[in-house]
Symmetry: C2
Amino acid sequence: MANIKDIAKMAGVSVTTVSRVINNYPYVSAEKAEAVRQAMKKCNYQRNINAVHLSKGKTFLVGVVVPFSNHPYFGLLIEGIANAALNNNYKLVLIQTNYEEVKEIEALTMLKDKQIDALIICSRICDWRVIEEFIEYGPIVLCEDAREKNISSTFVDHYKSFSAALNYLHQKGHSRIGYCIGRQSGTNSEQRDAAYKDFLKKNSLTYNPDFIFSGCFNFEDGEKVVTDLVQMKDRPTALLVTSDQVAAGILTCCKEHGIFIPEDLAIMGFDNQPISKVMHITTLEIPLVEVGRKLFFQAMDGETVSHEEIAVELIERETV
Amino acid sequence: MANIKDIAKMAGVSVTTVSRVINNYPYVSAEKAEAVRQAMKKCNYQRNINAVHLSKGKTFLVGVVVPFSNHPYFGLLIEGIANAALNNNYKLVLIQTNYEEVKEIEALTMLKDKQIDALIICSRICDWRVIEEFIEYGPIVLCEDAREKNISSTFVDHYKSFSAALNYLHQKGHSRIGYCIGRQSGTNSEQRDAAYKDFLKKNSLTYNPDFIFSGCFNFEDGEKVVTDLVQMKDRPTALLVTSDQVAAGILTCCKEHGIFIPEDLAIMGFDNQPISKVMHITTLEIPLVEVGRKLFFQAMDGETVSHEEIAVELIERETV
């Protein structure tokens, strides 16, 4: 491909003149400008936007790290980020990690290499010390409680919201409460587990590891939970399910096994996804699209560190 | 930020020498290499990957155009593309268009501006003549039957698959068959509508516009369909639903209204999403993750134009 030097040579002008013509600057004679345009046409010259970005130091790309691109929780976050990005002429670079550390480091390296202007990490596997090393290269924003850290974050206080949900179930008469979660590691999961253990302690209830179901991400994972429940001698009477999709799956499979909701088992979802409304699932609303929007604007504002706690709301329906 | 010229000046060497040190080329004396490294350290020099991409003419980014980022159908396509991209050291630039023409043109312009190496269009609103103008700038791949066009495509023959589904329902004794679809425009929708009309004609059945439900994208859209069905005097006895999510929504809401499946209404989904398995929905399997993978490799192979037709398979379960 012809570059700017080739064009200059062909048109018999300086490189500066070619640059001025390309960028529509003044102070170029009509004659020279025409010669440049003819030369560009002749060798089919195309402006390379990377050269423009190189000179401006901006790419108008924002990186978004998600463990799975195809999951309703991250889908809503991405929707919020994508809408805000579109309105601000930014594009998203989607980095799906499958919770592999090396993929997260690749995303951080994109920031270091200035391939993206900022990085939003929706959920991470890397240790904080790894992330910390990349702060100097550009804005990094976390979707978790990072109030103790020197980067911006938008988050739900999962300790507080889990405690509120557990107390609600307890008030409804439940003392055998279990919960379903995606992965057991991770900041959010640790907060939830702490809330669970503190709740049991406060109410003098015993901890039963069989009441905790991990690996619950999607609708179809509800089937596994019900298969386990059916085989249990002493079932929980209530389940706190950290995803409405999983709650919907549990609800559907319980019906097939003759387990009545909420009589035999109370179910409480999380997020207030559309499926919870259609299936009348009691849930804790998390405004994920709004969280995504806030994350985008924090990423754009690289100058200041801010922390936004998002309030959750209990939506009472028919499954508790 | 210091650039390569500043480094050269500071180290007292030529720009070429600095470039050689940065890119680990041989033929640099240990002394000069050390001077360059010291100068780079002193002014905190960071390699700008856009400069590297500029010189190599590659970005290792592939653009993916989707109308909605948060939809299970596109979720599975993105998953297939994302996995193939990860394994080939490519990143995705996700361009959510909401079916706005201007956003699609922005994506095409990214290809023209060399901000991405190739573009995969999962679903489009732009006229073919608009897309055609951008072919010269890099590989564009379509997820629709583009056998008549000079760009690669991976697609399902929606005329053929819709006809097969309609004939299956007809064999099961149905002659009052309706269908649910996302949008009525678009190549795939036009093919389906043609198959529907040809089916009616062949079997001497009358066309009833009330039997076609559009705007059906998500689980919650099933509610609207059932609300309409309940108010109809002469309901269809079978529905072909172009999304398993919508089929699941219809199934859930029918139960609430005392409409028995399949006795009162047969339901046939599309895609074979996990939700269809859990809810025992008869469906046409489309291997979307595999489609995504094929689209990625077609985008990478900019030299040859290929067309891959993906076979669908009827999965008989309990809703027909």
